[in-house]
Structure formats: C-alpha cells, structure tokens
Amino acid sequence: MTFKKIGAVLLLAVLNISALIAQEKIIRDDLGFPYDATVPPQRIISLAPNITEILFALDLGGKVVGVTRYCDFPEDAANKEKIGGMIDPNPEKIIALNPDLIIGFRGNPLRIFERLRNLDLPVFVLDTGTTLDSIFPLIKKIGTVTHEEHKAELFVQSLRARYEKILSSLQNARHEPKVFLSLHGVGLWTCGQESFLNDLIKKARGVNIAGHVPRKWLLYNQEQLIHENPEVIVILSKSKKDFLLAKNWMKNESHLEGTQAVASDSIFFLDENLASRQGPRLIQALEELSRLLHPQCFVEGL
C-alpha cells in the first residue's frame, strides 16, 4: 500500500513538473528564431504549397486562415484567403488575418521573414535538407509547433511504410537507366546535384545525367546531352497538354532524335505538382517515377 502511495505521489509530482514545463514551450525554427508554442495555434497562415499540403494532411485545414495563390491542393486549400505569392506575400493582408502562426519555407525570400518579424508577427521558418527523407522531419516539426505531434507521428509512419515498400520493390532493379529530367518542358532546364529532384531520381534507381553538377537548377548543354545519350526523358508538366507540347519539342526541335530516349519513345510525363513540392505527395511522385523507370519491378502479384 505504502509503496503504491509513494508511487502515486511521485507520479503526481512528475506530472506536475511536466505540466509546469509544458506551460512554456519555446521552439526555435530552422533559422534559429524562437517561436512561443505554449498554446496550440488557432489561426495559421502557410507561405508555401508544400506546407499547406502538410497542414491539411494533419487535419489542420480548419485552422488555416491564409495560403498563397499557388496552394491548390487539397481542393479546400484553394478556397482559403490568399495572402499573395511565395515571393510576394502581402504583410497587410497577413496582419488583417490576425494569425498566431505563420509557417514559412526556404523558398520564401529571407527579407520577407525579417519584415514580418519586425511587425511582431509570429513567424516559424522551416528549412530541412534536400533529400527525399527530409519531408519526414518536416512533417514532424509542423506537428510539434501545432501541438499535433501524435497525428504527425502516425502520418510519418504511414508515409514511411509506403516509401520503404517502394524502395524494397526496386531492390531487384538490375539496370539503372540514364535519365534527363526536363523542368520547363521546352528548353533544357534540369536539376543538378543540390536539388531534391536529384534525390528523387536516385531513389527511383535512375541516374540523373546532370547529377554531377553541384547546383540546384541549370540549363544543360545540348551537345553534352546528345553525348550523354539519355535512355529516358522525364518531363515535369502541369498538364497532359503541356506535356504533349514539350514532348513534341523534344522529338522534333531539340536535335535529340538520335538519343535512345527519343528513338525508343521513352519520354514520360510526371505531374509537376506532385514532384516539385517538398510535401507528402512526393512519395507518390517517387512511386510514379519508379514505375516509369522499372515497370518490371511493379508487376502485380509479384
């Protein structure tokens, strides 16, 4: 009995202490600035489409009061109040929405954060790495700052399970094809070593032709591309229509007709909205790209 009592008292004490600690919850964002997350935020503004997607995935859509004009997924996000774009969010609009949490991403200009902080607005900036796995800590951090740690944890687990499954399906891939990933369709803009799309190609067991160039985005040299002779060309496009335009350009006007990709018609569509945002749908992009590069690994019933 006494042991139980002592145990109960101790437990209470521990709970009390943790309650005291929980009274003040200061979190530092990825730029090192403190954010007071003691109370769960009720009015959230997202400054980037990938952040919006994560907030909605954590069932926080009801608390989101403002998004950028690029936030179009899920559908409900498109109906939220627009605060401008990623580069030009409007401070006045933001103030008027009276937010208690503004989540920024590294694509926003640094001066915007400074401007908002000077106006005493509660900014929290996220900047995780440039690998595919970095979306997991990103989701967890958003979970922490919004007091939805548990939901975030479950969501990460399910995403990670899908991710691992794709990776294990790819284990039997023998040949890694040389991939040229076209960013804007027409023209030879592609992604270099420092871009997360490079990691996407790598994880899908492809070899990014521009993967050795230590930059994020670059315009690739046509002659060099013909010399490298890609086996697959993947075109990021907003719609099938844009894709067909770009594909036509690749086939008829880019002088790439001698390359394996064009000769064997291995020119594929990848939805830009899936692949270009560092959000949960990146896993779907990984799956789609993996299926394009290694269809034999995804034969049903295998």
């Binding site: 605060i83 030009d88 401070p91 930059r215």
Partner: protein
C-alpha cells in the same frame, strides 16, 4: 504668363496632389479602411495594434519612402542633366544603378541576411557598390589630372554594362533567386520600414540643401565651363560636389527600393517644360514632382493586382512615358 505666377500655380497643384496622394495611400489597401477608420484611429484609438501596424508601419512608411526616393531620383536626374548638358542623362548614367544592383544581387545570391547598424545588409551592399563604381569611373576618366566629361560618360556606360553582366551571371547561375532579383531590378517598396526612412532622410536633406546652394553655379555651368570660370564660379569644385551629391542621392535610393527607372530621366524634363530651365527652381520642383509621382506609382503598383504586387518600374514607365510624349508634342 509670368514665370512667377506659373510657379505658384504649379506649387498649388502639386500641394493638392501631395495631400491627396498621401490620403489615398493611407486609405487604400488589401484591408478595407475608410476615412472614418483613419479618424477613429488618430483621435480615439491610437493604441490599436492592428490599425497602427497597417496605417503607420505599412502604409505611411511606404508612402513616405516612395516620396523620398522619387524626390531623390528626380533631383539626381536634374543635377546630372545640367552637369552633362545632355537631355539623355539620368541618375543612373554613370553606373550607380548597375553597381548597386550587383551588390544587392550578390547579397541575394550568397543568401546573406544579416543586419548592419539596423539596416539590411542588402541595402548596405547596394549602397557601397553603387558608390564604389562611380568613384572608380571617376578615377578612370582622369588622365594626368585632365578630366573630360565625355570620357566620364562613356566610362560610366562601360562600367555599368560590365556590372550588369556580372549581375545577370549571378542571377542565371542561381536561378531560384531569379524572382526575388526581378523585384530588385525593377524596383519595389515592399520592404519599406521606418529604419529606411531615417536612413534616407538626412542624405536627402543634405543633398537638397547643397544642390540648392549651388544652383546658381549650375546655371553658369550650363553656359560652358569657360564662361562659368570667367564669371567667378569655382568650376572644378562645383562639378565634383554635384557628382558626389547626385551619386549619394541615386545610391541611397537604389539601396532601399531597387532600381526604379525612367522617373529620374523624365521628371526634370516635365518640370523644365512647365517652368523653364532655371536650376534655382528646377531642383525644388523636380524633387517635389518626382516624390509625388512615385507616391502615386507605388499606390498603383500595390493595388492594381492586390494582394499581389507589381514591380514599380513597370508603372513609372507605363504611366510616365505617354505623359512625357504628350508634353513634348505640346511644346513643338
């Protein structure tokens, strides 16, 4: 009409436009406010946080900064047009803008976002490199102590082209900073705050007073250096002072707002067409007109596609050019 009454009429019109421009800027924005809100804020509710931020920290600071920059650029243009006796001259002719934008884009490229004595490092970089390039151009255009204006103009253009090339290279090399750089290269007041006003105001006042002080000498310079010299004007000293003053004005403007084209070239011409070429009045009226013109331009830039913003350089050229052509055609 007598010159004096012409000036008085212009002054009255400008004062009216000045007041209405500021009122318009204070009342209009993505958040709906009316005159009642403004009065309520001013006389009853001065401590309302949200209204204070919107009226004072965002709208008023922005309009004031636009006025200061417009006045600075126009004054700088008026000075340089007299200095070179060339109607094509503007505040950016000696390479200030190209130098300053190189500094700013370098800062964006390096991802630097520190503050220096309360100012954004980007502004400090821009100011320093804008000033440095003019100094360099000045040194390069001297040969054995002999100084030719034509050489100064051409060296300025060449150095500007070189700096622009470097800027374009940086933007191209790191294409993700492209959009941010565009706002810099076409000008914008979206980062305006009170710090920038306190930084600019002393420069502007100092430069304005010096320019006004030397306006008589400018009137002589326009007749040719020899004549000015024989009439007792210390030509060399006056020229150096004007060059420093116009550079200070342009560099400080660019460092807070980016490159706002056209205004510095065209406003002095407007004023000259309206009240004549006497620099004693030209400097004052150019400053006032330029300031007001930019307050209205910024108003359009931030409200036309609200809540998104346009770079202001688009507005100054789109609104200013037709009006300029109209005035020119009237003069013929």
């Amino acid at each position: 009409m007598k010159a004096r009454s012409k000036r008085l009429i212009l002054l009255a019109v400008l004062l009216f436009l000045f007041v209405s421009g500021f009122l318009l800027s204070l009342l209009e924005g993505p958040v709906e406010t009316n005159v009642g809100d403004l009065f309520d804020f001013l006389f009853h509710n001065l401590h309302d946080e949200t209204l204070r931020k919107i009226f004072i920290d965002l709208r008023l600071s922005r309009a004031l900064l636009a006025f200061l920059v417009g006045a600075s650029l126009s004054l700088s243009g008026a000075i340089l047009q007299g200095y070179f006796q060339n109607p094509m001259a503007g505040p950016f002719v000696v390479g200030v803008s190209s130098g300053a934008s190189f500094g700013a884009v370098l800062c964006i490229y390096l991802g630097l976002n520190l503050r220096f004595l309360g100012f954004s490092l980007q502004s400090v970089f821009a100011f320093a490199s804008g000033f440095a390039i003019v100094f360099l151009v000045y040194l390069l255009s001297q040969k054995k102590g002999i100084f030719k204006m034509e050489t100064l103009l051409l060296t300025g253009i060449a150095a500007g082209a070189l700096a622009s090339a470097l800027t374009s290279f940086l933007i191209f090399f790191k294409s993700e900073s492209y959009q941010e750089a565009v706002f810099w290269l076409l000008g914008s007041f979206r980062y305006s705050d009170w710090n920038q006003i306190t930084a600019m105001l002393p420069y502007f006042l100092l430069c304005f007073i010096v320019a006004q002080w030397l306006a008589k000498d400018m009137n002589l310079l326009v007749q040719g250096d020899d004549i000015a010299q024989s009439l007792g004007s210390p030509v060399n000293r006056v020229r150096k002072t004007f060059l420093v003053v116009s550079t200070l004005l342009a560099a400080s403007s660019v460092s807070v707002s980016g490159i706002i084209g056209f205004i510095g070239l065209v406003v002095p011409h407007w004023v000259r067409i309206l009240i004549g070429p006497d620099h004693r009045h030209l400097f004052f009226f150019s400053s006032l007109t330029g300031g007001i013109f930019l307050v209205y331009s910024d108003f359009i830039a931030r409200t036309l596609l609200s809540p998104s913003e346009l770079p202001i350089g688009i507005i100054t050229a789109a609104v200013g050019a037709p009006f300029f052509i109209y005035l020119l055609s009237q003069r013929r």
